[in-house]
Symmetry: C2
Subunit: 486 residues, 2 copies
Amino acid sequence: MPKKTDNAAAFVTEITPRSQDFSRWYLDVVRRAELADYSPVKGCMVIRPYGYAIWELLRDALDRRFKATGHVNAYFPLFIPEGLLHKEAEHVEGFAPQVAYVTIGGGEVLEEKLVVRPTSEAIIGTMYAKWVQSWRDLPILINQWANVVRWEKVTRPFLRTTEFLWQEGHTAHETEAEAEEETLRILALYREVAEQELAMPVVPGRKTDSERFAGALRTYSIEALMGDGRALQAGTSHNLGQNFAKAFEIQFQARDKSLQHVWGTSWGVSTRLIGGVIMTHGDDSGLILPPRVAPHQVVIVPIPRGNWQETVLPKARALRDELTAAGIRVMLDDRDSYTPGWKFAEWELRGVPVRVEIGPRDIEQGQVVMVRRDTREKATVPMSELGKRIGPVLEDIQQGLLARARQFRDEHTTHVETYEQFKEVMEGRPGFIVAPWCGSAACEAQIKAETQATIRNLPLGEQRSAGKCVKCGGAAVTEAYFAKAY
Amino acid sequence: MPKKTDNAAAFVTEITPRSQDFSRWYLDVVRRAELADYSPVKGCMVIRPYGYAIWELLRDALDRRFKATGHVNAYFPLFIPEGLLHKEAEHVEGFAPQVAYVTIGGGEVLEEKLVVRPTSEAIIGTMYAKWVQSWRDLPILINQWANVVRWEKVTRPFLRTTEFLWQEGHTAHETEAEAEEETLRILALYREVAEQELAMPVVPGRKTDSERFAGALRTYSIEALMGDGRALQAGTSHNLGQNFAKAFEIQFQARDKSLQHVWGTSWGVSTRLIGGVIMTHGDDSGLILPPRVAPHQVVIVPIPRGNWQETVLPKARALRDELTAAGIRVMLDDRDSYTPGWKFAEWELRGVPVRVEIGPRDIEQGQVVMVRRDTREKATVPMSELGKRIGPVLEDIQQGLLARARQFRDEHTTHVETYEQFKEVMEGRPGFIVAPWCGSAACEAQIKAETQATIRNLPLGEQRSAGKCVKCGGAAVTEAYFAKAY
C-alpha cells in the first residue's frame, strides 16, 4: 500500500503511459493495482486479493453456465504417473518439454516419476475408462477447477506463468456429432462470457493443424485483440475425436451391443483472461474494470472538511449500506490517512467503475457527485436517487466498454489481398488481418517467420469464395485471421 | 453406475454393515455412493462429482463466513523453494519427512529443489515481509483455497490422502492479543460450520505441546466423535506468535515508531470434513447427508405404472420445477432403465434427505408420498402442500441429525478419575474420556502407548479444580479429552 502523499499526480505518474510502452504499462498496472506480485518461485506469481476477487467473479460466471448446460465439477489428482502421459503419442510430444517432475516423496526416490499436471487428459481418461461401461453412462460432462504447471522460459503475470489457475472440461460422448456439438457449445459459452462479463469482444474460429492441441482432432479458439494490436488466445475448446479414448481404452457397449470408443472433448480458460481484461480496457490512468467483474463496482470517497466524521461519514455509511442492500459491490474508503485526491487517483488506477464523492456541501444540498471511470463524466445526483441511478449507470458502462472494444477491434481489423498490404499493416498499425490462405503449413510458417504474425484461427461455417492465398497466390481454401499474438 | 436389477436388497447388501466392520463400511459407502474413487496415483483419490458437490456447499458455507469476518481470498504458488521451508526450524522438522520434491523442470535438473506445498506459511510469510511496512497495513486477513501434498504411508479416502483440498487462512496482526482473538474467532467459526452445516457436534479446545502445529505457539482444534467411537480432528487454528515473523522478517513500524514483528495466525479445514460427515451420520443403508450440504435435498421418484410417462412424469416435472423455484435442490430420477425399488435403495445409499414418490394412484388422489432418510418415516402429503412442507422437513432433519449426533457423543463421553476406569472404557466402548491430567508429556505418551488414546484437546477457559492426574496421580493442572483418533 503506497504511503500518504498530497500529490495525486506524482502517484499516478508511477505508471508508465500506455501509449509510451504498452508492455511496461501492463506490468505497472498489475503491480500498482495490486492484482498480482512476483514470488520467490521462478515463473510463478502471487494473485493478490484484488486480482483474485476478479477471478472469483469470472469463475462464478463460468461455473453458473457450465452447470446450466449440464456439467458437474470434480477433482482429479495433481500428479500423473509419467507412463500415463506417454500413452497418447502426440500429447506427450506436445507437453513433455514443459513438464515439472516430482522425483522424491516422503524421503525416498520414486520408482516412477510423477508429472505435475500440465493438463489432465491422461489422468481423467484413465478414470473414464473405469467409469464408462454402457451407452447409458454417457455423456460424461465433467469440469475441474485446478492449478496446472507448464515450465515456461519467459513469463508475464496472468498471461504466461509456470503455474496458473484454470478450469478444464473433459467430456465423453456416444457419437462424433455429439462431441463436435459439445465442443462448439463450449466455444459459444466462452464467447458469451468474454463478451458479456469481460466486455471483451472475441473472434471464434478453428485453429490450423500447426496450432492444434497436442492430441486433438480439431481445436477451436476465441481470440481477442489487445490495446496494442496484438491478439490474445482467450480460450480453447478441443474435439479430441477418439484419440484419447483409444490411448486410454475408454470403451462402451453401444445401443447395438457393439463395443465402441467414446468421443471426447476438452476445453479450458484460465487466469490469463484477467490479463485480457487489463489490456482490453485500461488507459494511462490504469485499470478499467467492467462492472460485472469489478470487486468494487462503486467506491464512496467522503470529503473530509470540518467535522466530517460526524456529518459526512454517517451519510456515506448509510449510502454504502443502501447500495449494498441493492446488490451493488461497494467500498467505502473512510481511511483518514489519505487525501481525497490520492484516493481518486488510486481507485482510478484500480479501475473501479463508479466513484461517488460526498462532502459537507453535498450533504447540505442533498446530493452526491458521481464520476464514471470509463468516460470520466461527472454528474451531480440527488442523494435519494443514487440507489436507482447506479444500476443503469453500471450497465451502461458494461455495454459502453464492450462497444468501445468492439470498435477498436473493428478499426484494427484489415482485410488484405496481397502480401505487400499484409506486411505494410503489420509493420504500421498492427491488429487482425483477414486474408485468404491456401491451407498450406508452409505458407503459414513463412508468414510467421517474415512478419511474426500467426494464424489465430479460421472463420467458422461456410466460407465465401476466398480468392488467392495472400502468400503463395495459389487457390485459397479459406480466409484466416492473422495477428501477432501474446 | 450400477446396472439394472430388480432386487433392491441385493444392491444394498453390497455394503458391509456398519456394525460389522466400520472401516469397510466406510470404504464401501465412499465407493458405492460415488463420493470418491481410487486413482492410479499412490495415495491420491479422485473426488467424484457427488463428493465434490458436497465440498462446494461446504466451501461456500465457510467462504461466506470468512468474508463476513473481513477475510479476503488470494492465491500463492504451489511450489516453495526448499530454502524457504528451512527458515523456521520447528516447521521444517515437522514437515520435511512428508514433502514431495520437484527436481526437474522444463527438461533440466533444478538448481534448488522445489517443495510441493504441504502448507503455505513459508511462501506466504515471504510475501507478507514485502507487503507489510507500517501498522496501517495491518491486519492482513488472507485465506487461500488450494491443494496441498503431504506424503502419507497409509491413506484412506477423504481422511488421509497424499493430496487434499483445503483452505488455509494466514493472518498478520499488530498485537499478540489480536492474534489470539483471531485464532479463537476462527475456531468458533469452524465449530459453527461443523455444527450448523454438517450437523457434526465438536469439542473445541487447545492442543497439548506434543500435538501442536510445527512452528506454532498454540494450536486449537475442534474434535468430533465418529460412529465407531474414534475421534476426528476436524479443524485446527494456530496462534503462530512471532515465530514465522522472525523467521521471515515480517516487520512493521508500530504506532510508537518502533520496529516490530507481526503476530501471526494460520488455520485450516479440508476435504477430511466429508469423511467426518459420512462417519457421523451414516447407517447400514449408507450415507445420510445433512440437508445443508446435500447436493440433492429431495429426490423425486416417479412410479412407472400404466401410461406413467403421460400421466405421472409431467406432474413429477412440475413438482421438481416448483421445488427448484423455491430454492430446494431437487433431483428427478426419471431414468426408465431402473425400477423404483432400485432407485429407493440407491438414493438411500447416497444419503438424499427426502424422497418423494409419485404414482398414478397418488395423482388420482392429489397426493405424494414423502419419505425421510433419517427416520424412514413415511407421510402422505397433499400435492399442493408439498412446496411449503418440504422446507420445514429439511430443517427438522438438519436439527434432528445434530441432536442425534450430540446424544451419541454425550453417551460416549465418560468422565473418569482412575487409570483402571480409563482402560476399561477404552477397551470396552470407546469414545471421549474426560480425565484430569498433570500436564506432563510423559504421562501423555505412556497413556498413548498403553491404550492408543491420545489427548485430543484441553478445554478452553477457566478450569474447575482438576483433581489428580489419571496416569501418575500427581496434581492435575487441567482436564483433558482423550480418544483413539483417526
